[in-house]
Symmetry: C2
Subunit: 277 residues, 2 copies
């Protein structure tokens, strides 16, 4: 049976490109929000889902983090790192570089701002609801227009790419995670993601918590504090450590951690992304 | 002489509301991007600037963090915490709740999604480049329209607010920082913000770094890792600690820290925001 995989739609977004990169044979099912993407798994509509979690320029996708922290029991069982290549596209055959407006999601417009100012100073940036909506906005525009969107959106909606990789910062990648009912078995090159909080904010709390990893020589790949829903000053800590939760040292560290913190939640262990595989 | 203060324009954004909350007597000068807002201070066009740094729902404003890390020598000398109240507004006197489209920045549309689905299921969300552009888009719209924007934008552009506080999560606040040529003198209730990195990612590095604060009983108010521009796996750590960099213990801790890390940069010490003052 073909695997069914939900993603943040519509078709033609970077999320769809990441889903294809993860499993080009899966049946892809778009949903309009991150919670809806995840609930499709809980509700049995799809087998797995893919959601963006971190972009090298924009930072964490906090909707995904907050959903993992407090609204789902799904586990992370895989990660995918997708290079973000913004493409400039026009109506096919128009061949024009003389467009008056350029449509995209405000985030993508911001990521290509310097390029647009230098190359197309007279083109007016116009907001669209998504990168993929930008392509249909462009195709339906009454004035000559361009759109900034992924290559995949050009293929799906029939636009012609006239430039690619136009983002101002060249090293722009997004990390996606795959969520399902259980995480991945150990592979020897794994990561474990978890979060915790403290009931009382006291000096040294975080230091002591990290000590359970340092004393076992476990490297932390990432740490981030997210304000809890209650207030700006109270934080959940999100950590990625190297190793699998079934490795003895990681297991011991997580046990020691749970004695010191409140609300420890392990999101899962999964193989580190290796673009060669 | 009246103080000149640059902010992320256009007029009517939450940044302007925060600037007014900080100093209602200042002359406010809008700039279109966070780097431009800050450079106005370095270039002597204005005395100070205000930029958003963290939202309780969306997370850190990474453009501000990255600019502080690598592109400016300005110091943080104050903070302001602004409650975010999204307002639904229409053309004055139209009194209609029968609008067909609702304009706003995609982030604000996302923050009011549940409200719109429940209260105005037939209204189509349309993207604008900013919350304040949403108001002019609405006023110029050929179909009956509404906009989601701050109260301040309604006042500036002459729209009529028909609902306020329509965001799905009620506790939505944004923290802004004031930047200038020097930070604030000690007040007895201060915070110090700084960042650092490690040349080599080794187990225990962060743990040891945080130890210099724990051993002096200095509380950390916030910690965050941001990927360096080089790659997703290499991080800058951004920390807010309690106390002023001129307090003896904080000074000692920062000295001890600088011996362990590379690229320690202190953004400044400043009074903790107290909405009562």
């Amino acid at each position: 049976m073909v695997k069914r995989l939900s993603y943040l739609g519509p078709a033609g977004t970077y999320s769809e490109a990441a889903a294809v990169l993860y499993d080009s044979g899966a049946e892809l099912v778009p949903f309009p929000t991150i919670p809806a993407v995840c609930r499709a798994v809980s509700d049995g509509i799809v087998d797995e889902c893919i959601v963006p979690i971190e972009n090298s320029i924009e930072g964490s996708v906090v909707y995904t983090l907050d959903f993992l922290i407090s609204e789902t029991d799904l586990s992370i069982f895989h990660e995918v790192v997708l290079p973000i290549q913004h493409c400039l596209m026009v109506r096919p055959g128009s061949g024009t570089e003389d467009f008056k407006v350029v449509f995209s999601h405000p985030q993508s417009l911001a990521q290509c701002r310097r390029y647009l100012e230098e190359q197309f100073p007279s083109a007016e940036p116009v907001a669209s609801l998504s990168n993929s909506a930008a392509v249909t906005d462009m195709l339906e525009s009454k004035v000559t227009a361009a759109a900034i969107a992924p290559q995949r959106a050009a293929e799906l909606y029939g636009a012609e790419v006239i430039r690619s990789g136009i983002q101002d910062v060249t090293n722009n990648v997004t990390r996606f995670v795959l969520l399902g009912c259980k995480d991945h078995s150990p592979t020897g090159n794994d990561k474990t993601s978890f979060c915790f909080t403290f009931t009382k904010d006291a000096p040294g709390s975080l230091y002591n918590a990290l000590g359970v990893f340092a004393s076992r020589n476990i490297n932390l790949a990432k740490i981030e504090s997210r304000p809890t829903k209650e207030s700006l000053g109270q934080y959940n800590f999100l950590v990625d450590c190297e190793g699998h939760r079934e490795n003895e040292l990681v297991r011991e560290a997580l046990e020691a951690l749970s004695a010191q913190v409140s609300g420890l939640k392990v999101f899962g262990s999964y193989p580190c992304w290796n673009p060669g595989t």
